[in-house]
């Protein structure tokens, strides 16, 4: 029994009796214990995982109704709430915070008999591209532990790539699912804004972020999406997807489909030459699959990183202002402080990147500056949206490298925020426009993974997953060197 099996293989294994949930979960825990000191994918582990797996096995044995995941170990990013468990957001600010309710995605996974194996590491409050900003130390890239795993859902990507879980849920505000998926050579999907409920996802930039499924195979990601998508009364921004089945017909192929290469994401001085050559290979593969390729220009892309940081810091400034340590938080005696000085003292528990974005977030929407920054950013957003709409009137998919650069080493970019922010250039467009985008692992060059990004139009996840599945089957990836 290999821990590297796909979700589909796991389910088949349980159904035909070749594996049990208990065995698999036990083996996973054993493996986690072995590799965690090296990888640090998790912030906390579920102490009841084995017990839960055992209970599910009992139901299987007794022929009772069993949920779709059959005790499959799934990891959850630690900015998604689980009732009674700690939800730290990798921040000292919430180091001891226990959530009083389940996120909608968590309720859904529990209802389908998943075993939530643990909560994964992230950049503090999901702000970062390397997990270097986790208050509890970074996660390591399983392909080479000197390299970052990407972020902010780095822990989720590492847990999947490192065989510590079959599937994971991350969150993607500007690429936080796709970037680590690309760096760790796994699949990561940022769904259409509103397809997956955000209830229970700790907000960073609420108008553009989504919870996204991550796995080693495209079909696994489709399966996970099947069980988390759809309308949720707790999240008024959710969309009714009519219980679409993303898994059925995933092998339909993309013959005759039109694919646009986004010029601004696939050329220029910022693009690493290795990434460029892998991307070229993927284009040939798409052609062989019968797709028609053309180049598409979205000239607003040039302004998207600036736009993204203006919008997200403005929203983050508001979303994170509730962390004042009055109702929950960490141990800090309020004695002797006047309210404002207490607040400023209490909020010093944020790490450097969050602090940086809080300061920006206080500035960009402020009187006298909103017009220059926030309103301008909103204009770019709406222009970009129009350009994307126009592009999808001609193309079925839009492609680019997921990240223009290869995974980098720890410490390489942490002191240069601008260089770090540029790593987001290819991923933020999907968030700013709301369209779905997926990163598909395509090659591992000199030990470093490269992923290909495919965008589809709003709510076209089914098509998108078909394209990703087709691309996946044109490549054979090496095994992770654990």
């Amino acid at each position: 029994m290999s821990l590297g099996i796909s979700a589909i293989e796991y389910i088949n294994g349980i159904k035909n009796g070749t594996i049990t949930a208990e065995e698999f979960v036990a083996k996973t825990i054993e493996h986690i214990k072995k590799v965690e000191p090296k990888l640090h994918a998790f912030i906390s582990l579920n102490d009841n995982a084995l017990e839960q797996a055992r209970a599910i096995d009992k139901k299987v044995k007794a022929g009772q109704n069993v949920g779709a995941f059959y005790g499959m170990p799934i990891s959850i990013k630690d900015n998604i709430c689980i009732k009674g468990g700690k939800t730290t957001c990798a921040s000292r600010m919430l180091e001891n915070y226990t959530a009083p309710y389940d996120a909608t995605v968590v309720s859904k996974l529990n209802a389908q008999d998943a075993v939530i194996i643990g909560k994964t590491n992230l950049d503090e409050f999901a702000m970062g591209v390397a997990t270097e900003f986790s208050a509890f130390g970074p996660s390591k890239n399983p392909w080479d532990t000197e390299y970052v795993p990407g972020g902010s859902s780095g822990g989720s990507a590492v847990s999947v790539a490192g065989l510590e879980s079959i599937l994971s849920l991350g969150s993607d505000t500007g690429g936080s699912v796709r970037n680590p998926a690309s760096f760790c050579s796994i699949v990561g999907l940022k769904p259409t804004y509103g397809l997956v409920s955000r209830y229970g996802l700790v907000s960073y930039a609420n108008s553009i972020e989504q919870i996204g499924p991550m796995g080693r195979r495209v079909e696994d990601v489709a399966l996970l999406l099947n069980h988390i998508a759809g309308k949720d009364p707790h999240d008024p921004t959710t969309i009714d997807n009519k219980n679409q089945d993303y898994l059925s017909g995933i092998d339909s192929g993309i013959s005759g489909k039109k694919i646009g290469i986004i010029k601004e994401m696939s050329s220029g001085s910022g693009l690493d030459s290795t990434v460029a050559s892998v991307f070229k290979n993927s284009i040939s593969a798409f052609e062989k699959l019968g797709a028609k390729i053309e180049e598409v220009s979205l000239d607003m892309v040039e302004y998207t990183v600036a736009t993204y940081y203006v919008l997200t810091t403005a929203e983050a400034g508001s979303n994170l202002s509730r962390y004042d340590n009055l109702r929950y938080g960490y141990d800090l005696d309020s004695e002797g402080y006047e309210f404002k000085s207490y607040i400023s003292k209490a909020r010093r528990n944020f790490g450097p990147e969050v602090t940086r974005r809080m300061i920006l977030g206080g500035f960009v929407p402020s009187a006298g500056f909103a017009g220059k920054y926030l309103l301008k950013a909103l204009k770019v957003k709406s222009k970009l949206k129009k350009q994307i709409e126009a592009a999808f009137s001609k193309c079925d998919f839009l492609i680019s490298p997921t990240v223009p650069v290869l995974p980098f080493k720890f410490g390489e970019k942490i002191d240069d925020p601008l260089a770090m922010y540029l790593a987001d250039i290819n991923t933020v467009t999907a968030n700013l426009t709301g369209v779905p985008a997926i990163s598909v692992p395509y090659e591992v060059k000199n030990g470093l993974p490269v992923g290909i990004q495919i965008h589809a139009n709003l709510l076209q996840e089914k098509q998108l997953l078909q394209a990703a599945y087709a691309l996946q089957n044109t490549t054979k990836l090496p095994e992770v060197p654990l």
Binding site: R198, V202, D235
Partner: protein, 466 residues
């Protein structure tokens, strides 16, 4: 010039603005009417109470406002311990008209008061200080109120004096109650801040005013203070002042220049609410009859005097009682009974809550009066008993004997007694027949109002020979 910002809780709604906790938080132990949503726990999202949109739209319509094509919500960001999220979800017309109403108007005594804007927002929690807030050793926070649906009504600076402000607030308070959206008599359900300025001076905002009575005083104080400054050639600073309830003066709290920058941003968690014509028409149709229309109907249909109709229509409690008690034929008498005899018995919310009176009591009593079985003053006594006990009219008649005394021999005996006791008054009555009312009054006193006044008068006249 005086302008108002009035906050009114939609106390008649079942739940808070964004969660299912109770909208009327009164009577709960501190911090028990709360949930993860109204406490702003990490990851929670607001769910807009659709009923709040409906009720607030009714207010906007009643104040003759334009309603927008779509509603938008914004975050007003500031740190304060009563705000669980450290921002308040409110409305703003930042991208065109997206608040629940704008450009309305109300007429008070021939003066038109323009409504600038109406918006829906969430009420913060409550801070409880030990002693006065400035010197408190501890501050306690009760979040039971946090998230209560509020409607903010902003007027143009159209008031000339505090009297107009008082009349306007009374009209508004009656209107809100008549719409069935709020009970303005509940403590804290309706609060107002005032913007006060005099010609050539800056605008001063006066906050922290506890009651409408104090509001009038605060405005009066502010006008006097500003006029006095102007007379002495001192510039009137643009600032926010707080009403000091104990000293009955306003005190400067912070200058407008340092006023907080609220960094308004769109609340992305609440999608735009499209205000479709069908819903708007439906809500308009479901609006209760307006006070002015009620009044008009009472006068024209039932021939009720204008003054009586005014009192009756502007108070929802009275008009509801009236509508349920009358059968058209007795409308005028019921109206009179409510506005003259009942009013003093149920003039506060406590008395109304405790009152056992039902509409049927009123119609039964009027029937008794009309058929000559009880006198008006007995009916008044009966009302007192009914409000207290809720006993039926017939029970009361028999148990405490309110039946009218019209028996001439019985009355004759009483009159004879009075004549022998009140010889001076009898003499006076003989000289000036109008003073006979005094003697009739004596009979009434003796019979506790049960004597038939007409028979008594006639008997008296006969007996003393006038």
């Amino acid at each position: 010039m005086i302008g108002l910002e009035i906050h009114c809780q939609l106390t008649k709604l079942e739940s808070k603005l964004f969660c299912t906790c109770k909208a009327n938080y009164r009577g709960f132990e501190p911090n028990t009417n709360i949930c993860p949503v109204c406490m702003g726990m990490p990851g929670t999202l607001p769910r807009l109470n659709k009923k709040a949109v409906e009720k607030a739209t009714m207010i906007a319509m009643a104040l003759n406002c334009k309603t927008p094509q779509r509603l938008g919500f914004f975050r007003k960001n500031y740190f304060y311990p009563d705000l669980p999220k450290n921002f308040q979800i409110t409305q703003l017309n930042l991208y065109g008209p997206t608040s629940i109403g704008e450009q309305g108007k109300v007429s008070i005594e021939g003066k038109e008061i323009r409504i600038r804007r109406i918006q829906i927002e969430e009420d913060p929690g409550r801070l409880i200080y030990e002693g006065v807030s400035e010197r408190t050793a501890i501050t306690l926070v009760d979040y039971n109120r946090a998230g209560t649906p509020l409607v903010e009504i902003v007027t143009e600076p159209d008031f000339d004096n505090p009297r107009q402000v008082r009349i306007f607030l009374n009209v508004l308070s009656d209107l809100l109650e008549n719409l069935g959206v709020s009970d303005p008599t509940l403590e804290g359900a309706m609060r107002a801040d005032a913007n006060v300025s005099i010609e050539g001076g800056n605008r001063v905002e006066v906050k922290n005013i506890g009651s409408f009575h104090d509001l009038e005083k605060a405005i009066h104080f502010e006008l006097t203070r500003q006029t006095s400054l102007k007379e002495r050639g001192i510039e009137i600073a643009q600032e926010t002042r707080h009403w000091d309830d104990k000293r009955k003066i306003t005190i400067s709290s912070r200058s407008k220049e340092e006023d907080e920058d609220y960094r308004y941003i769109l609340e992305g968690d609440i999608p735009w609410v499209i205000m479709d014509e069908t819903s708007l028409q439906g809500w308009k149709k479901n609006m209760p009859e307006s006070i002015s229309s009620k009044k008009e109907r009472y006068v024209s249909k039932y021939r009720i005097p204008a003054q009586v109709a005014d009192v009756l229509s502007s108070d929802k409690y009275y008009s509801d009682l009236f509508e349920q008690a009358h059968d058209e034929s007795n409308a005028k008498e019921i109206a009179n009974m409510i506005t003259t005899d009942l009013m003093g018995l149920v003039d506060t919310r406590e008395k109304r809550e405790q009152s056992k009176l039902a509409p049927k009591h009123l119609s039964d009593l009027v029937l008794m009066m009309n058929s000559g079985k009880v006198t008006r003053s007995s009916a008044k006594n009966a009302l007192q008993e009914i409000v207290k006990t809720g006993k039926s009219v017939s029970d009361i008649m028999s148990s405490i004997g309110l039946a009218k005394i019209s028996d001439e021999s019985e009355l004759g005996k009483i009159i004879d007694d009075i004549i022998s006791q009140e010889s001076t008054a009898v003499q006076q009555a003989k000289e000036n027949p109008q003073t006979i009312n005094y003697l009739v009054g004596k009979v009434m006193q003796k019979t506790k109002g049960k004597a038939d006044p007409t028979i008594t008068l006639n008997l008296f006249k006969k007996k003393i020979g006038i």
